[in-house]
């Protein structure tokens, strides 16, 4: 009977990251090739997150707690994950900067294959088949992996979070595996978290993004719109590169991948790389004064107008 292991991701204070729930859904979708799944939680404080995870139908929740796991550092996490993973046929995590950093390292430790950033999983000929966006999302490849164990990360925007349900899973203590020499040569210095009252881009139901056309008036124009919509605030790479907003605003193939119900692109021309990061959105709106901007080709609603007048008008209309 094939079993999967889902790796949970915790915030620095031990709170469960919602992204984990997409990897749990992925494990459920992998049935019937995967008959059951367990969840592994690592950190310095895992009790609360383990309780929360026990409500998602896992065979069991395994917690590995050690003071050295208070901050995520791949070299400290990988040995413990790899040891537990040896008892499983598949290991899944969500493709956040945590999952994308950790799982390939664990894969190498296990001599196993890895499929990154998967949009879906199905079973073909009894084998797990991973659907992966490639070429900046312009092609989907269907990948199968050989070997006793296989690893995959899950694109959060493509897989709905798991809902609690079923009987409570037992919670077990797992054993911490000592890290190798590499861990002695990496020191965690700091995490400068961006504090914002707005929803996180990858979780937001509405995202508004601004492009280079906003110039130095990026925040002056975009913040009222984001406030009126309760939206996460993003940007194109061009706006970030020009210094109009911080780097972690970037939506696109090389930035954040978002798939909200509503995406509003303001003054964004629509480079392939940007579109790759938002084309999973349910409804796309583009406001741009250039009627030939490629963004209009993917927009459900387009408004050809000067953004400096159109955006305040939109804010007014929303308040009505």
């Amino acid at each position: 009977m094939s079993k999967a292991l889902v790796i949970a991701e915790l915030a620095e204070d031990g709170a469960l990251k919602r992204a984990t729930l997409s990897a749990i859904t992925f494990a459920k979708k992998a049935a019937p090739a995967i008959a059951a799944f367990d969840i592994l939680v690592l950190g310095a404080q895992t009790a609360a997150a383990s309780e929360e995870l026990a409500a998602h139908g896992a065979g069991k929740v395994i917690r590995i707690e050690d003071a050295s796991l208070s901050h995520y550092v791949a070299e400290r996490f990988a040995p413990s994950v790899a040891e537990v993973a040896r008892g499983y046929q598949a290991v899944f995590a969500t493709a956040t900067s945590f999952g994308k950093d950790l799982l390939p390292r664990v894969a190498a430790r296990l001599g196993a294959g890895y499929a990154g950033d998967c949009a879906d999983v199905s079973v073909d000929g009894g084998k797990l088949t991973y659907k992966r966006p490639m070429y900046a999302g312009n092609v989907f490849g269907f990948c199968q992996l050989e070997g006793a164990v296989q690893l995959a990360t899950v694109r959060q925007s493509e897989v709905d979070p798991s809902e609690p349900g079923g009987s409570k899973s037992p919670i077990e203590q797992g054993s911490f595996s000592s890290p190798t020499a590499a861990a002695g040569r990496v020191e965690y210095v700091s995490l400068d978290a961006v504090k914002s009252a707005r929803p996180e881009l990858t979780d937001a139901k509405v995202v508004v993004s601004g492009g280079r056309a906003l110039k130095e008036r990026f925040f002056e124009v975009m913040e009222p719109l984001a406030d009126a919509l309760g939206a996460g605030l993003g940007a194109s790479r061009a706006a970030v590169d020009a210094g109009y907003c911080p780097g972690d605003f970037q939506v696109g193939q090389t930035g954040k991948i978002v798939a909200p119900s509503l995406y509003v692109a303001v003054g964004i021309s629509g480079a392939i790389q940007h579109i790759a990061g938002m084309k999973g959105s349910k409804v796309i709106v583009a406001i741009n004064k250039d009627p030939d901007a490629p963004i209009f080709q993917v927009a459900d609603y387009g408004l050809v107008a000067d953004l400096f007048t159109a955006v305040p008008e939109m804010v007014q209309a929303l308040k009505r």
Binding site: A74, Y188, V189, K279, K282, D300
Partner: protein, 274 residues
């Protein structure tokens, strides 16, 4: 400091919208696309050059070795890296069909055991397969500490590297003791992203990667380029196979609205997302 930079040749991502799926969906058709160095690997090379020089005088110290896996055609990309400033190149003779992230990492690990670099630099991912795994795997195989998605690298007086990683929701800073491995993100080529010990912290680089001047292109033809067969480095087989490819479904053509008021109205009554 000796730095090894791994480069991958990819079909030009600026033309990624012209990527086609071959008949029957069994392959990706890249015919007609131009080859170039994976942009993130170009950024890794730029970071390597900045780490081995004094930014102001451009005096180069240490060694930068560029490596790729591929057929003889990939030497074009290695030569261009040599012209940009790398000192030496190695091509691992291999057919693309025999490679996946695991095989590439194993071959590079064996090569690194011979080359003994202080730092290994790679792009965070290649823009064709978008796999994002070779760096992490290579670090594990060599038991090196790693920093992925690096936006800044500062060499400290004691030779340790302070690396700012772009993670979800912020910047995570690690201090690595070489030998170590770093995969780089976009902003590593910003003017104030990379400082060697020699470069004054007030110095600002030009945005982006440097280009090879014409005399350097001529000189690059004389720089050493070694070729090694893949079989001399690893006998591992690829564990991943792609049986099928498909194009994403095209979005339905949208409508143009005349005003912001009409837009909000349509979002409320037609799309029902407000």
């Amino acid at each position: 400091m000796k730095i090894l930079v791994a480069l991958k040749r990819v079909s030009d991502p600026d033309h990624a919208n012209k990527v086609k799926v071959g008949a029957g969906g069994s392959s990706v058709d890249t015919s007609g696309l131009e080859w170039k160095v994976n942009p993130f690997d170009e950024y890794a090379l730029e970071a390597a050059l900045r780490l081995t020089e004094d930014g102001k005088t451009k005096a180069h110290e240490g060694e930068v070795v560029v490596v790729t896996l591929g057929n003889k055609d990939t030497e074009t990309q290695l030569r261009s890296a040599l012209a940009t400033g790398a000192d030496r190149a190695v091509r691992i003779e291999a057919e693309d069909s025999a490679l996946d992230g695991g095989v590439v990492a194993e071959a590079l690990a064996k090569l690194c055991q011979e080359e003994k670099p202080d730092v290994i630099l790679l792009g965070k991912q290649a823009v064709d397969g978008d796999s994002n795994q070779v760096g992490q795997r290579l670090a594990e195989l060599l038991d090196f500490p790693m920093a992925t998605f690096a936006a800044t690298i500062v060499e400290e007086a004691n030779g340790k590297l302070l690396v700012g990683r772009e993670v979800d929701g912020g910047v995570l800073t690690l201090r690595l003791t070489p030998p170590c491995l770093i995969t780089v993100d976009l902003r590593i080529v910003a003017p104030e992203s990379v400082y060697s010990k020699k470069t004054d912290r007030g110095f600002k680089y030009a945005e982006g990667v440097r280009f090879a001047p014409l005399p350097a292109i001529m000189k690059a033809k004389k720089k050493p380029l070694d070729v090694k067969p893949l079989s001399a480095l690893t006998s591992s087989q690829a564990l991943s196979t792609y049986g099928k490819f498909e194009l994403p479904k095209a979005r339905k053509a949208g409508v143009l609205v005349k005003s912001a008021a009409e837009l909000v109205d349509k979002l409320k009554t037609e799309a029902r997302v407000l």
